[in-house]
Symmetry: D2
Subunit: 137 residues, 4 copies
């Protein structure tokens, strides 16, 4: 599990007084840098290997601006040519938002999806979600 | 069907050269103003009636900065206490992104979900998605 | 003068109930596409010629979510190796925000600033701000 | 001086490959939470005391996505009814962006500007910018 502290920003609130729902994809994406680094060791966009194919988000309860937040990031599953992340936003003891995002492993040179290389599969599996990896889910 | 032209912005691109995937929820939300107006005639946040509960997004193909885009918005279904929107991003003849978003109808005064009033149900149903409403889905 | 209608988005509000002040640079940049096209006819980032050097913003009064807005864009001055835009956000008869942004004309191949070519200077000057170009300033 | 580490996000890049210039106001605003807390101890928007009046930004050099960044925040001056912040974005030894933002101290109840209270003036002055407060400016 990768955990990242977040300090919610005023500009991320909306007129409801809480963090706007379009912010969750931004917080999730922002905390994927370690996952991106596994798939793209140099973080080099000239040779980028992952393309987002699908995302689901469940908004369970409000995210408050005043309080610190935390993003938790796991690998849910690694398929042949894709992998799925599972991510949560927490504030204190409250699970606020959860989501799953599926990335296709891609070869830009031949412009098509590609089997996830074994070394990358192993590195991703080190962040695998298991029931034991969180007490709260 | 509500259609809204979009001019993609430079600041919405990312280092891949295309529109970043966190932008789709923003474009979708931005074009829901007519839907919000049905549920909140004065667009007044002191008496706001809809809360986003879930969102799914499918990223089918890249969205290019250079080309104009269009968001198409339908109501997919109206349930007892919630309704689901179906939305698409198009560039020319290409369907780029599609998504579904479920809103709970809510009463802030009593802080709980509430049956969608009949007049609002009828107004939402005027934007109902049917196979005939698009040739391309 | 280039004018662009804007429909303020819910996700652009903040907890004050009004459009957040970080949105003005986004609206301004978004409406510069025609200016960018003058300097980069193909809008091609592999051969991009303008780099933002400085920006000033004056926030005169609140921008409301409910009401349509308009961005007005002028060229304030074209210098030897740079040019300055002047931009305003209006809602109805209210001038809400104004700003100036200076771009350096740049040659990526040699990685240094360059004189603004005469043809581009002439095209930019067609959008020159003059006291007559607005009755309201 | 308040310093805040920043991990640049993929969605903050643009097609140039670097962090988009509309991100600097967001990073700056995000790191003002301690300043906001001085002026609004409960961070309560029902009784908010600061309104942004003006902002200037100087973009000195590119901000790279790959590298960690830091925002440094000072109080530049406290006037009778307003105060000005001075902020910088650093990457390693490079000063990338600097800016000044002026806030008016405001009383929402009477809807007009107000003298900065002495206790707040003193708290702000603890973050005053002096040539000695940075070796690099």
């Amino acid at each position: 599990m990768l955990t990242t502290p977040i300090t919610p920003c005023l500009c991320e609130t909306d007129a409801s007084g809480h963090i706007n729902n379009t912010v969750a994809p931004v917080w999730f994406e922002a905390r994927r840098k370690e996952i991106f680094r596994i798939c793209n060791p140099d973080l080099d966009f000239g040779d980028w290997h992952v393309i987002l194919a699908a995302m689901t988000l469940d908004y369970l309860t409000q995210v408050f601006w005043k309080h610190p937040a935390e993003v938790r990031t796991w690998v849910l599953a690694v398929g042949t040519k894709s992998f799925t992340l599972y991510e949560e936003i927490w504030q204190g003891e409250r699970l606020c938002t959860k989501g799953a995002s599926t990335y296709v492993y891609f070869d830009h040179k031949v412009q098509q999806s590609q089997a996830v290389p074994e070394s990358i599969r192993m590195a991703l599996n080190e962040h695998l979600y298991t029931p034991a990896s969180t007490q709260d889910v």
